[in-house]
């Protein structure tokens, strides 16, 4: 564990409190500090990776568009034979190391904890707000808890993870764009009002 806590790429962009329109439709916006690790199966080794992940972490590796909540992390499908693992913060690099240890040379493991920001958006009108920035069909028939999609939000590369029925979404974006992204998100939420914890 490093002696210092990593600094959030958001700086002071998210100001705690209630903003935008009054009324009871306010959404909640928050940064979630997570560990993020990308896992790619080496050529022809997807089966081995899946077996190792199941054995070591009790995790399925989900198929396209889906997620799997293992005890230690959520696994999000992001590309063929490629997953993004999202976990609560742990000692620097520990998650990646344990994955690498489990998979050996059947997988390429890439640390992304600092490379991505996880922005949580939730509340009854979260889908309305997200629908201003994303062209995904967020209707319950098409998307819901347990689903994830890689698709631009506010024009930026993003992994949209529908976590629960509140609904709560994790929006996972490239860290160097995070401030601009959050500004777009808060603009979109002005109409409903939004609360930053």
């Amino acid at each position: 564990m490093s002696v210092v806590d990593p600094v959030s790429p958001l700086g002071n962009t998210l100001v705690p409190g209630r903003h935008g329109a009054a009324g009871d439709g306010a959404v909640r916006i928050a940064e979630r500090r997570c560990d993020l690790v990308q896992v790619f199966a080496r050529k022809g080794r997807a089966g081995d990776v899946a077996a190792a992940m199941l054995a070591r972490f009790g995790s399925d590796l989900p198929g396209p568009g889906h997620t799997f909540d293992a005890p230690a992390f959520s696994a999000l499908w992001v590309q063929p034979d490629g997953w993004l693992l999202v976990a609560p913060r742990s000692p620097e690099g520990a998650l990646a190391k344990s994955i690498k240890a489990a998979c050996g040379d059947t997988a390429s493991v890439v640390e992304q904890t600092h490379g991505r920001s996880v922005i949580a958006l939730s509340g009854g009108r979260a889908a309305w707000v997200l629908g201003k920035l994303s062209s995904l069909d967020l209707h319950g028939r098409e998307f819901g808890p347990g689903r994830a999609a890689v698709s631009p939000v506010a024009g930026l590369s993003c992994v949209v993870h529908h976590r629960d029925a509140a609904p709560s979404y994790d929006l996972i974006v490239f860290a160097t764009f995070a401030r601009w992204f959050v500004t777009s998100l808060t603009h979109a939420a002005e109409e409903t009002g939004y609360i930053v914890e």
Binding site: P64, G65, V78, Q79, P80, S135, A149, V150, S151, P152
Partner: protein, 91 residues
């Protein structure tokens, strides 16, 4: 708005993709004459009708997809993986 059904991600707007042109040409072997490389780079199908083309799902799964699209109606006939040999224009 062209919409492309990515075999992995589902139906998505064209704005998620980057176009990469004619997918019927392939890179010549190393020992091929320069002429072949010229053709690979500069001699590209430009039909009025069905066109087989690369679309990079840059905003999604990052796969280069082979897409058969009509250059008048813009209808997408089929979409497949880079390796697919099934992605061909209709009769």
């Amino acid at each position: 708005m062209i919409r492309i059904a990515c075999p992995f991600c589902g139906l998505r707007d064209e704005t998620e993709f980057a176009y990469r042109g004619d997918a019927t040409v392939s890179r010549p072997p190393a020992d091929a004459p320069i002429e072949d490389f010229h053709d690979y780079v500069y001699r590209r199908a430009n039909p009025r009708g069905w066109h087989v083309e690369w679309w990079h799902h840059a905003g999604g799964c990052r796969q280069f997809l082979k897409v058969v699209r009509h250059t008048m109606t813009h209808a997408v006939h089929s979409v497949g993986l880079a390796s697919s040999t099934q992605v061909v224009p209709p009769e």
